[in-house]
Symmetry: C2
Subunit: 366 residues, 2 copies
């Protein structure tokens, strides 16, 4: 059965009212709120049909209606008003994003905090899975027992480490090692740093003190760390604001899932939002993780430069303010991309068209 215009309006009203109050919505309330001039009895008939069609359900026989995941999906895909941020909000976001950008990690953890504050839900920020390699080596001789390793990576970041040794090194050895590493260790991945490579470098440098091993270890460590995606979680406690997490058991389960590396946000790799500013919504059972089956997740992706994408996600009850959250995440992701990425993102302050991808509501039919 096709869904009539009026049914759509009613469905939207139910979803929005339920999002606002967290209480089942009755026919009377809708008759008053939504500006369609008909009485509660008419609404009742329509509601009954919406229940039949699977968009709504009743907690018990004589209660109001509550949206099903399919109802939310319909709302998100077709009914939802695209929300614009206020000037204050956009300014706040830009200000916070500008604050510090020198280390990627600190920025990303700030972004998750920001996302959580903006939406009042717990938020997760993931760094991109990348394949950076070392672009350039430098060793700085400090004194007989000390030198500094400086790695410039292909992602255009720098990592450095101070090495303190119980033995003496001479300046010449340090210089020799630097050029050997520049020759042999640039442009390769962590697992290409084989014992064989280390050994041959060691011999070439005439290094009997194990310096080569120390440096190589740092290379492996750095590359591994930089290329491993990391998740930052913020505002888990905000979950407790939501009446659906009144039960400490439930709250605790979700919270510990999230903080225990529950960075399982991307549902299936290909499903993640592709373009910058694109937002993806996963409603209740659409999530793969068991722990998220009755929560919803909104994800935006950002351009982290170097052709890699990171993710920002927000977790909340299925009764989530999808419209507001989607708008905020999209804006945030765009702003972040502009600062980190290649600059193909739309200009500052601009509202890019919000693309929301989702499943076909009918697939929930069963």
């Amino acid at each position: 059965m096709a869904i009539s215009e009026r049914k759509k309006k009613i469905l939207a009203a139910v979803v929005e009212e339920y999002i606002r109050t967290a209480e089942p919505v009755g026919s009377k309330a809708i008759a008053q709120s939504a500006g369609l001039g008909c009485s509660s009895a008419t609404i009742r008939n329509e509601l009954a049909e919406l229940v039949n069609m699977g968009y709504l359900e009743q907690p018990h026989t004589s209660a109001g209606r509550v949206p099903t995941p399919m109802g939310y999906r319909m709302y998100v895909n077709e009914l939802m008003q695209q929300q614009k941020l206020s000037l204050e909000e956009t300014e706040e976001i830009n200000r916070r994003l500008n604050a510090r950008l020198q280390q990627l990690d600190a920025t990303i953890s700030d972004v998750s905090r920001l996302a959580s504050q903006l939406t009042d839900y717990p938020a997760l920020a993931l760094t991109a899975q990348s394949a950076a390699s070392v672009k350039r080596f430098d060793l700085i001789y400090v004194d007989a027992n000390t030198f500094i390793i400086v790695l410039m990576l292909s992602s255009n970041t720098v990592k450095s480490k101070l090495v303190h040794l119980p033995i003496s090194v001479d300046q010449d050895m340090v210089r020799r090692l630097a050029s050997l590493f520049n020759a042999g260790f640039t442009g390769i991945t962590a697992d290409q740093v084989t014992p064989l490579l280390i050994h041959s470098t060691e011999r070439a440098a005439d290094d009997t003190m194990g310096l080569t091993a120390v440096i190589a270890a740092f290379v492996i460590e750095t590359l591994t760390e930089v290329n491993t995606p990391t998740a930052f979680l913020s505002g888990e406690n905000r979950l407790l604001n939501q009446p659906e997490f009144r039960d400490p058991e439930k709250a605790h389960k979700l919270m510990s899932y999230l903080s225990g590396g529950g960075y399982i946000l991307p549902p299936s790799e290909e499903d993640a939002p592709a373009g910058v500013g694109e937002v993806r919504v996963l409603i209740g059972p659409e999530n793969v993780a068991e722990e998220l089956k009755d929560s919803s997740v909104v994800i935006a992706s950002y351009d982290a430069g170097d052709n890699t994408r990171g993710l920002i996600g927000v977790v909340g009850p299925t009764r989530m303010d999808y419209s507001a959250v989607a708008a905020k995440l999209s804006f945030l992701a765009a702003g972040l991309s502009r600062r980190l990425g290649g600059g193909e993102a739309p200009p500052e302050g601009m509202h890019n068209k919000l693309i929301i991808k989702g499943d076909d509501p009918n697939e929930h039919r069963g």
Copy 2:
């Protein structure tokens, strides 16, 4: 009135039983558990007196007894058994501490995670307030538009940054700037980097492109960041394991206090534990922050090198397993000190004497 030996035993039994069960403790339970050969009636008399003395209280007339803050204080100061960690526990801690130590921040956030996991309470780790300065400057020329700033700090860490410019710099200028910065910018604090100093350096280097300003900005930023104490919070959700936080309101209040920078752990500056391995316990109302008035806090300090001290703290209900938490934090702080600090800490695996400082229990008399 002096407290008799038997009363002490009974008090200890009440506290321990209450810590275990979170239920008011009855006379019968004590008669059985504690190995003192007397009947429940006798215990009842003793309990009544302990209530009079202020060590215990009854939630209502016909319920068991619960320790007051003063009771806990007495327990912590005099009654508590010093707990030793198992071999597995010490090994686990050492293993985790060894895992990565290259960046201080990552370590400290790991430590807070570790502390939380070990104790099953939320944990907070604070970096030390320090006064590090730049010890040595290096500028690495990469190409005409790019160079790397490398700062070696007095705290024996290295910070680096890649600078990309729209204009060309020549290798000679970079070399000149490096030596000028080494001469003028080492050993000073962030606020000694005055516009005057920058300006004179700029002229001396014959720098018309603003490179000096860029480098100076990085110096200020780095020094400020390194010297500002930061707090890392982990495991807030573990609060929900505790029956006293069954009420979401209460849990939420404390959690948002903690995550909102509630790094107000050190009660009054001088009160913080002084020596490494020393542990301080703050029970309920002994805390200054309103939000902590009915929670307890255990704090240990670690030696962060360079004559500075950081803190590790754990927050939980007043019914906290003080003995276990104190032992774990003390060990953790010692291990961390050994790795970061000057090495005056006791050797690996050793249980250093656990010094627990606290208020005089009598001051709660009122």
